[in-house]
């Protein structure tokens, strides 16, 4: 096999041990295949590391390094520094879950960005510590049930808000920071390609449902991910040097309940008046996103409807030669 033939390369190949419907496995395969063979991947501890490198087996067909949980961005800094000035065109990619990005890995990520390392940091966000059994993280959305933010007589799930990770990294005035979703592949593809055309620190935040932790049907992962975008809870946006340069407009606005009802982690919100109050709170958070990024009225390259059609093989983000620009 010629590994340099992009139509032959699976950066992340079959046989790994992800759960069925795993959003992170989908996302990592999309990102890895798009970046191609000329890259060195550094992985934080987490589901992706565990399910791809079990016991002397590996699902990676690209050079891949895992050290510990918190230090992926710093390890990647070292890899990138070591490659500077040498022949070879390989790029450096960091992969981490939300724990390895929002929480324990945040300091190393900030350092990597501040020092201007030429590396793409990809966060596969499934909104909790799934590898250890669904504990809440700084990314867990408000009111979600996890094993450490359980609803109870005195609790409506997670008390705190999801950390605004994109704003935090964008505040470093880095070349590129964007959100993407496994439900909008052409958009994700365009963002990975754009990120790889740029130099310096770049950040891609990929929304990756976890059927096990979110308690939804394994076949519904893409639907759940699409609804997170269509409700405004997870806006698809791009920032360059801190300024918003791209927004995916919502073709139609969906109420947050459409998204929440599919997931057992929000089931307690539909029981009583306390839950109803939290539902209004979550709707207000979505409304704030819609206002902040102009998700209903922005002039954008595509909207969620077009991107959805494109995903089914129509117009959209494939190579321009295939007519995407028309």
């Amino acid at each position: 096999m010629d590994r340099r033939d992009p139509f032959r390369l699976n950066a992340l190949t079959s046989g790994h041990r992800a759960c069925s419907g795993c959003g992170q496995a989908m996302a990592a395969r999309m990102v890895g295949d798009l970046i191609g063979p000329d890259a060195i991947f550094v992985n934080a501890t987490g589901c992706l590391q565990v399910f791809t490198t079990h016991n002397a087996q590996s699902a990676w067909q690209v050079p891949w390094l895992h050290s510990v949980f918190a230090n992926a961005a710093a390890v990647a800094s070292g890899v990138e520094a070591a490659r500077r000035g040498l022949p070879g065109s390989e790029r450096v990619v960091v992969q981490a879950g939300d724990g390895g990005t929002f929480d324990i890995g945040l300091q190393c990520l900030s350092g990597m960005i501040e020092r201007g390392h030429d590396a793409l940091f990809v966060c596969y966000d499934n909104e909790a510590y799934m590898n250890t059994g669904v504990q809440r993280s700084g990314s867990t959305p408000h009111a979600a049930r996890t094993t450490t933010s359980p609803p109870g007589r005195l609790s409506e799930g997670k008390r705190h808000l999801k950390k605004d990770m994109l704003a935090i990294v964008a505040a470093h005035h880095m070349p590129y920071a964007a959100t993407a979703s496994v439900a909008f592949f052409p958009d994700l593809k365009a963002k990975v390609e754009k990120a790889m055309r740029l130099r310096g620190p770049r950040f891609l935040h990929v929304f990756s449902p976890c059927p096990l932790g979110w308690d939804h049907d394994a076949a519904a992962s893409v639907q759940v991910a699409r609804l997170a975008v269509e409700t405004g809870l997870f806006p698809l946006v791009e920032l360059e040097y801190g300024a918003v340069t791209g927004v995916m407009r919502l073709a139609q606005r969906r109420p947050v309940e459409d998204y929440l009802r599919l997931q057992g982690r929000f089931k307690h919100l539909f029981k009583d008046a306390h839950g109803a109050a939290e539902l209004r709170h979550l709707q207000a958070l979505a409304d704030a996103n819609i206002r902040r990024y102009g998700l209903l009225d922005a002039t954008t390259a595509w909207d969620t409807g077009e991107a959805g059609r494109a995903q089914r093989g129509g117009r959209g983000g494939y190579a321009p030669a295939h007519g995407a620009a028309s």
């Binding site: 060195i40 002397a56 087996q57 390094l65 050290s67 710093a74 390890v75 300091q107 190393c108 350092g111």
Partner: protein, 394 residues
């Protein structure tokens, strides 16, 4: 070339001669001067390296890890709190068998916070899987740094060169610096066999399970055991090229016919040598032994070197709180395993920068003169009299 240099500058010059391509560090007293000197060398174009000023020691160790995994020779340095903040990564570097080399500018560990010298920081990391060399002088620091890269790269194991904070790092001594061409010939560029490479993609750092983890750890232990031979042969090769040696695993002083031997590590060995000379002049049959290599622990070498001794004192600047001296316990175990009933008196002193004077060392020799078994645990050297009255020891 012989120059009068501060210890940190001397170490920086030695690191420069080894041509690391990546230097990563976070400042902590008393390590700072080393990294400042290296930064200036890079700024002046005297050293072609990437200086990565990280946001923590944890990241500094991680950058060094990544750099070596990508095939570059790398360097880092730290001390005390910084070294402990690196701990998770240091274990990981050793488990990945990456030849990272670092300097530990030995410093006490808080609380109470104290910037001065002892060996609590690096000795607390004796189980991390790193080769640990403790140096007596700035010349030994220079020479050990150059040896460290050769040992690390031959064994695919990380090496920590431990030098006493302030006593060495901030002290000016005459130091002989080798020529660049000599070092280049002696230390070829790193060729790391497992370097990450898109042409031959490999997975580094994957998971293991109960059915093979034990074997990985055993292999690591055996590699450290075998590294003893490499440390010895490297010291010999260094001597034949550069004309200097400081011992390899251990360095005995006036051990012939010595009945009582004091074992220590680091810069205090200089004062110990002077004290041995003074006691010898008074007719006492005493000797000393510098433990240069703590990991791998040179048990066989110690047993052999101490075969004529009647009693041994270990003077160390660290303590396993609740147990006693660390090296004393390891020496007792080595002697016991060899079937030798040699009394080993454990002394803990010099903590947090307290001077160990010739008088203190003489007192240790005097306290380790009795016949009969040595007490288990440790005795403290130069404890404040008021504190002793308030909290009497054994």
């Amino acid at each position: 070339m012989r120059r009068q240099l501060e210890g940190s500058r001397a170490v920086a010059e030695a690191v420069r001669l080894c041509r690391p391509r990546v230097i990563a560090a976070y400042p902590i007293t008393p390590q700072t001067h080393i990294v400042e000197h290296l930064s200036q060398m890079v700024a002046d174009g005297e050293l072609a390296a990437e200086c990565i000023n990280t946001e923590s020691e944890f990241a500094a160790a991680s950058v060094a890890l990544g750099a070596v995994a990508a095939g570059a020779r790398a360097y880092t340095a730290s001390a005390a709190q910084g070294l402990l903040l690196m701990t998770e990564v240091l274990f990981n570097i050793a488990g990945l068998r990456l030849p990272v080399v670092m300097t530990c500018a030995n410093r006490a560990v808080g609380a109470p916070i104290n910037i001065f010298n002892d060996h609590q920081d690096s000795l607390s990391l004796r189980d991390a899987g790193w080769i640990q060399l403790y140096v007596e002088s700035n010349q030994e620091a220079v020479d050990s740094m150059i040896q460290a890269y050769r040992i690390a790269e031959a064994c695919e194991l990380p090496v920590m060169v431990c030098m006493d904070g302030f006593f060495l790092t901030h002290t000016f001594e005459p130091v002989e610096l080798p020529e660049q061409a000599q070092v280049d010939a002696w230390l070829p560029p790193l060729r790391f066999s497992r370097a990450l490479d898109p042409v031959a993609p490999a997975t580094l750092g994957g998971g293991s399970e109960p059915d093979n983890y034990l074997e990985y750890r055993r292999a690591q232990h055996q590699a450290l055991d075998h590294a003893a031979d490499e440390i010895v042969s490297t010291a010999a090769a260094f001597q034949s090229t550069f004309g200097r040696t400081h011992g390899a695993l251990i360095d005995g002083y006036r051990l012939d016919d010595a009945e009582r031997v004091l074992i220590t590590l680091g810069s205090v060995m200089g004062a110990v040598r002077d004290t041995v000379d003074a006691l010898r002049e008074r007719g006492e049959r005493v000797g000393a032994l510098k433990l240069r290599c703590v990991r791998p622990f040179p048990a066989a070498g110690l047993v052999h070197a101490l075969r004529g001794a009647r009693r041994v004192a270990v003077l160390e600047k660290a303590i396993s709180a609740g147990a006693g001296g660390i090296i004393a316990a390891e020496l007792r175990a080595a002697m016991h395993a060899a079937g030798i009933a040699l009394p080993v008196d454990g002394f803990v002193g010099g903590l947090g920068g307290r001077d160990l004077t010739p008088a203190s060392i003489e007192a240790v020799f005097a306290a380790s003169a009795a016949a009969g078994p040595a007490p288990i645990g440790c005795q403290f050297v130069d404890v404040d009299a008021a504190d002793e009255a308030a909290r009497p020891g054994e």
